[in-house]
Symmetry: C2
Subunit: 340 residues, 2 copies
């Protein structure tokens, strides 16, 4: 691979002049410039970004860490980030933490060594995160996505999960549901899921109903009907559930229907996130839509502002209730699993 020096030699000028021909062409006499460009062409010269990065002490790279790309929420966010980054001549170094704190640390360390200009992270629990503590000592700009702001001290891009959880609940309440449950992944380990649950409890109490404990599924994005069955039985059976993410909701709907239940006839199901696919299902998924693309775009733009040294306190982005066929009016029913 030819370098600038060989181009300069072939053109009969110094490295400095050759460099100028590219970075500030107007400082070079047109004839000289022409010679340099010709030489570059001839040698198929391609500027070496690594050298530029070392010299300029800036990589024009953003380090991105998401829990997993198997969840479309993150993939869709990343898609938007990539477009936004490229529009500003930045590249993305992408990693997945698989929800593992130790991986989170390795990854961030690695990215700091790579001297990324900034970091966009989604951590498991922002309020209690080793990585974020470590990062506090660094001066690399860092931004959270989806994690609730406030309990970490870091700026964060995302929706108000608490309010969103309440909105979801109120939607169901408005339709006449009273016995509403919340379905979450294991241990409720994600801070956003917790906030959504808070919002749910708040809305339930406000309406004069008793919030229920979370129904925990074994996996993050796949429902197991067995865990829910008890709640569908007995005098207090649920008429609606809110899942902490869309994948959970979709697989729950599938399981329910496969077991002979009707959605929303027997149980209304709401999701959370608003992944694109939910719209096209039948029944279509009623969900709280996070503006995933906008979140990604805003994250990049905010981070770039921070890199430029501007201080900025991003506001929460608006979420929206997406109506869907998976939610209906509660009908009077007997216990669906009644053995009596």
């Amino acid at each position: 691979m030819s370098d600038l020096l060989s181009v300069a030699k072939l053109a009969g000028v110094s490295r400095a002049t050759a460099a100028r021909a590219f970075s500030s062409p107007d400082l070079v006499r047109p004839a000289t410039r022409e010679k340099i460009f010709n030489a570059a062409q001839q040698l198929s010269f391609r500027p070496n970004k690594v050298a530029q990065q070392l010299r300029s002490q800036a990589t024009q790279m953003i380090g991105v860490m998401v829990p997993s790309l198997d969840n479309p929420v993150f993939a869709e966010q990343l898609q938007a980030m990539e477009v936004a980054a490229r529009a500003s001549s930045y590249s993305l170094l992408v990693t997945t933490s698989e929800y593992s704190p130790s991986r989170e640390e390795e990854i961030v360390e690695e990215m700091l060594r790579q001297r990324v200009d900034g970091l966009v992270l989604t951590v498991a629990d922002a309020g209690n995160s080793a990585v974020l503590e470590k990062l506090r000592l660094e001066n690399t700009p860092c931004l959270l996505v989806y994690n609730p702001p406030g309990n970490s001290g870091y700026a964060s891009i995302g929706v108000d999960n608490n309010a969103a959880g309440a909105d979801a609940t109120r939607h169901l309440l408005t339709l006449g549901h009273e016995r509403i449950g919340m379905v979450a992944g294991p241990l409720l380990q994600s801070d956003r899921a917790q906030q959504r649950y808070e919002g749910y409890r708040h809305a339930m109490r406000d309406a004069g109903f008793k919030p229920r404990p979370v129904v925990e599924m074994n996996r993050h994005t796949q429902a197991d009907l067995a865990s829910l069955t008890p709640e569908l039985n007995g005098p207090d059976f649920l008429t609606a559930v809110i899942c902490t993410n869309d994948l959970l909701a979709i697989s729950l709907m599938g399981e329910l229907q496969r077991a002979g239940f009707s959605v929303p006839g027997d149980l209304s199901v709401m999701g959370f996130d608003g992944i694109a696919l939910g719209k096209h299902l039948y029944p279509s998924l009623c969900t709280i839509e996070q503006p995933r693309a906008e979140i990604g775009r805003t994250a990049v733009q905010t981070l770039l502002a921070m890199i430029r040294g501007e201080s900025c306190t991003p506001a929460p982005l608006p979420h929206a209730l997406r109506q869907g066929e998976s939610v209906g009016i509660p009908t009077f029913r007997k216990s669906m699993l009644g053995t009596s």
Copy 2:
């Protein structure tokens, strides 16, 4: 950010020795090593990868270009690639082409400037691609994913789309379907979709049936029922369709059901790709499963082998028919849309 030189100074040794303490500790006397590590700790030294990359002429970075991360096929592949790459201490520079040839060129140029050690690309049409032509002149290892091998001269990781298309068709034929259609995105512009169609035609002819022309949808991953309606009508109405990707199949199923058709009662629907979600739907999606994770993993491993200078001709990976509730035995029916 402190550099090796300051560490060396603080430890009272030369840069060379300080560097050795990290790269080959056994060449440094334990006492000296200790001093250096202490100094490094004290200055919170973090090796600069950019400098290492410049010096070693290797970035340990793989450039990845996929059409879009909004499609879980690519996201799931990328997820696996990331894990595999990190396991070998490589990083991923991720970009999306949005199916645009001009973007493809910009992206590849950018990645070459970044001196990635290798490229993993999924292009729109490998047989007719400007980027690939340009890349032929470079000596950066390059690997295709999903694109059919053969018509480009590049090694490629993926399944045998032709055989897979035939397998899908034969599955339907075995169940008794005869009037089977194929549904694709706009212009059949993807080379893999074309191959799948070839396989379909082959299988149909082998079975003594007339292959039908492709039913083209307006969008890549979203079905519009109107385009299909004519085929569901008249004496020759379809009893089954194969979609060229899962997203198309899922949205088609939704549209059909929403319009009052039953799946598979009125129409059996097959997908292609095997995205994770399909399993959890109801009806679950019958599809040809590409081993997306294995494809990603193999792509990384093959590319790393190429980077090491080993020559390798990857074999196609096995696809599998995933049974699903979206396909059934054809029932005798009248034209579903009959206006008579």
